[in-house]
């Protein structure tokens, strides 16, 4: 499954459905087996970012 691009998301969000679209995108990311939150600890600034 593919996720919405940000441009697609913005297009879907136009009008009254912004909150609903946000929720839909969040749910889709979870459904696609994507992580919602990653925390990296105890590295250099570059290592902390790179490990994501």
């Amino acid at each position: 499954m593919s996720t919405l691009s940000r441009r697609e998301f913005m297009a879907k969000s136009a009008g009254a459905g912004i909150a609903a679209s946000s929720l839909m995108l969040s749910q889709k990311l979870v459904a696609d087996d994507a992580w919602a939150l990653v925390v990296v600890k105890n590295g250099s600034p570059a290592q902390l970012v790179r490990r994501h």
Binding site: I18, S22, S26, A36, L37, V38, K41, P45, L48
Partner: protein, 240 residues
């Protein structure tokens, strides 16, 4: 992200401070994100912020301008004519507000705040970092902040939020200055759910996210999940 896409990275470059003072996002982290976007095939990566102190000084002293350019980014200063009014039909107090075109038009928008204390909003994280891409009188947002900041975040949702908590300014924010107020935490928190990311980061300040009005508002209005037990989360400890 996909090859050929445009990326806008929005760090906090608001203050004429050195990285060690932890008022701005860590420049090495910003540079690393720029590199990763370029490696993934980004057509263009831009870095910008609407600063509080003089922009030229903030961009230089933060180290973000030099580090981002070296990594291959276009570093831009804010130009007033590039703000565009955005309608926020679901806004409870803010029904429209000017946003910066580069953020609205980018394929990928990466919100990259530093976690720090804030004299008005108590802390500043991802939600508040959005204020660096809005025009108008930002002081108005600080009145009824807990509702208005959610209204603004309804208008533009980051593709990814990356919170820099390598150094955390625990007191006297947002500008700080005293190194005694800075704690070295060596943490980066990233996620697609902006509510979850801010909720986790509240722990850095010993704040229960359940007591933070804007996170409760944002969850109620569908922007994400503040209950971290319901969030798919991974913790990586590089020292283990």
């Amino acid at each position: 992200m996909k090859k050929g896409q445009t990326v806008l990275i929005k760090p906090n470059i608001g203050w004429d401070r050195l990285p060690e003072q932890a008022a701005n996002t860590n420049p090495d982290e910003v540079a690393q994100v720029v590199k990763m976007c370029k490696e993934a095939g980004a057509k263009r990566v831009r870095v910008l912020d609407r600063t509080c102190n003089q922009a030229r000084r903030c961009y230089k002293r933060s180290g973000i301008e030099a580090a981002s350019k070296k990594a291959g980014a276009e570093v831009r200063h804010i130009v007033k004519s590039r703000f565009k009014s955005v309608s926020i039909p679901n806004g409870e107090l803010v029904k429209s507000w000017p946003f910066y075109r580069d953020a609205l038009e980018a394929d990928v928008f990466i919100n990259m705040p530093i976690a720090k204390d804030h004299s008005i909003s108590r802390v500043t994280l991802g939600f508040k970092n959005i204020m660096g891409i809005i025009g108008g009188d930002r002081g108005q947002i600080h009145k009824n902040f807990m509702t208005k900041i959610v209204d603004l975040n309804l208008a533009i949702k980051p593709t990814l939020t990356i919170i820099d908590a390598y150094r955390v300014l625990l007191r006297n924010g947002p500008s700080g200055g005293n190194l005694a107020d800075v704690a070295e935490k060596k943490i980066v928190i990233a996620g697609t759910d902006p509510v979850a990311v801010d909720s986790y980061a509240m722990g850095l300040f010993d704040i229960d996210p359940g007591q933070v009005e804007y996170l409760k508002n944002a969850t109620r209005r569908g922007l994400g999940q503040m209950d971290l037990s319901k969030v798919k989360m991974k913790v990586v400890d590089l020292s283990a």
